[in-house]
């Protein structure tokens, strides 16, 4: 071993400088590591904050529609200011609520849409470039006039109506959303269901290139949902083509989705490509995944807990504290009669 040559004293750093350099170095290490940790945290754990802006819908009907009288509904022009001139006892069809709307930002940045990602905060980001045109919807099965509709044909079935519904997610949170669209019955009427049809089955687009979440089997793709025919024909059951007066954003199920306000949100199947009328109860995705946790009906019911969490209360997005969950999400007056005589604990 050779001993290194002695360092000439001119090259030895004087102690003041050495300590100065060392504290500088240390400050540098502190700054660099904390900045990296902060960057990592921000990259991995950011709340959803995409600016989602779709084109405005044309011809949106904003009538409050506090009446089941079809003539009056078809004639919104004739009515005076609906708030001031409200009839003494309006028939509440459930189409509107006065509750505070959930912000567009929250509505578009907090979504369960596993076709894109299982992270609610990231659906908007991942679905940013999703193109939903051209789009067709096949309506088939037990109908007299099966047809593959082009999206524009569906949009022409009826002018989009604004309906403000509560949306209750099975995870225990809720929103108030101004949807645009029309009752599903209008589409079903157009294909003339046969007498033997008892159920309606729905299917989401399956295209892993456009919906990257489908590359992982979080659910048995494609997503399928179903309703009993009488549920599907109920006026509250809606085919939504927009929200906040704009075309339906990708995270919310562009270009066309189902909204069933008295059921948990996952019943509201998104990006629909197929609707078929069937005689037997169709399979539904979450029920297939966990039959003990998600039933076919999945009506909002504060008395029937999910096996892993309570359904008695909900976090209304934008509010602090939790509020009590209402039976049928507050739509009992309109829909309870669909279930008379049924044990809703067994048929959860």
């Amino acid at each position: 071993m050779t001993t290194p040559p002695p360092i000439p004293s001119s090259e030895i750093t004087p102690p003041e400088l050495y300590f100065n350099r060392r504290s500088l170095l240390r400050a540098g290490i502190v700054a660099a590591t904390t900045a990296s940790t902060a960057g990592l945290y921000r990259a991995l754990n950011r709340p959803g904050a995409e600016e989602v802006k779709t084109p405005e819908l044309v011809g949106l009907v904003k009538d409050r529609g506090d009446s089941t009288d079809p003539v009056e509904q078809a004639n919104p022009e004739g009515a005076a200011d609906p708030v001031e001139a409200a009839p003494a006892e309006p028939v509440d069809n459930g189409f509107h609520t006065d509750e505070t709307l959930t912000s567009l930002r929250s509505v578009t940045n907090y979504n369960n849409f596993y076709e894109f990602t299982t992270s609610k905060e990231r659906v908007a980001l991942v679905s940013r470039n999703f193109v939903s045109r051209p789009w067709t919807v096949a309506v088939e099965g037990l109908v007299h006039k099966p047809k593959v509709f082009d999206l524009d044909e569906i949009l022409k079935l009826s002018a989009p109506e604004e309906r403000v519904y509560r949306m209750r997610c099975v995870e225990g949170w809720s929103m108030v959303i101004p949807w645009a669209g029309f009752s599903l019955s209008k589409l079903l009427d157009a294909v003339e269901p046969m007498g033997s049809a008892k159920y309606v089955a729905f299917e989401t687009l399956f295209d892993p290139k456009r919906m990257p979440g489908q590359n992982y089997p979080a659910l048995d793709w494609p997503y399928v949902e179903g309703l009993r025919l009488d549920e599907a024909l109920h006026p509250l059951t809606m085919l939504a083509t927009g929200l906040y007066g704009r075309e339906l954003p990708a995270p919310n199920g562009a270009p066309l989705r189902l909204v069933v306000p008295w059921k948990y949100g996952f019943k509201g199947i998104k990006s629909i490509v197929k609707i078929s009328l069937t005689e037997n109860q169709p399979p539904t995705s979450w029920n297939v995944t966990a039959p003990g946790e998600y039933g076919f009906y999945s009506n909002v019911n504060p008395d029937v807990a999910h096996p892993r969490w309570s359904q008695a209360t909900e976090q209304r997005i934008g509010e602090s504290g939790r509020r009590k969950t209402l039976m049928f999400n507050g739509y009992g007056e309109q829909v309870a009669q669909l279930y008379t005589g049924m044990d809703l604990r067994r048929n959860f």
Binding site: R26, I29, V30, T33, T34, T37, A38, Y41, R42, N45, P47, G48, A49, T102, R105, S106, N109, Y110, Y114, T118, E121, E171, W173, Y216, A218, L219, T289, A290, A305, R308, W309, S310, Q315, I317, G318, S320, G321, R322
Partner: protein, 219 residues
Amino acid sequence: MTHQNLQFAKFVALLNCAVPGLLLGLDALRGDLGANPVNFAIRTTGMLSLICLVLSLAVTPAARVSGWSQITHFRRMLGVYAFLYAAVHFGIFFGFDRAGSVSSTLSEMSLRPYLAVGAASLLMMAPLAATSTNGMIKRVGGKRWKLLHRLAYPAGLAAVTHYFLLVKSDTRLPMAFGATLVVLLGYRVFALRRKRSVDLNQRGPRIGENNVVQAEPLP
């Protein structure tokens, strides 16, 4: 590493473990936690706690495998952070999600298996955090302290079970944490059994066997 450098490295680690928590607090003050702030804060702190816990359990095997025994100086700090984040996690659940209602917190925790195992995990971490000072190590005594701190493993397994039970269908992350824990635990069990058989045979360590001197008692 000199003592001074080690102290500095510990300080850097201490600071960096706090950074995510500080950012979370800052974002909370700015109202920047997204659509569901309470749930966001609960999930963030839960995740931070689990990461710290797994890292703390990875220290000893990492030190043995790499031979870099000085990293064991960071083990206790990681463990204490795991507890702190879990305590904040529970605090947010109790204070905000349950609006400070003791009865609703207790009833939820007893009705929901995922909350019950989460609570078990937190309860197991509490005595470990409480005995994490040098004074307490002396008072409890090295051997007993070591035994007590093995609780970190069941605490980790309970936390992963808590996580696994609460996800709806995408189990990739909880499974990854679970697999990591199993590997770490497996390594320790394997190393312990080998050591025992070596002791029984009254032999010294075999050539190539790692016998890193522990800087601190093992958990």
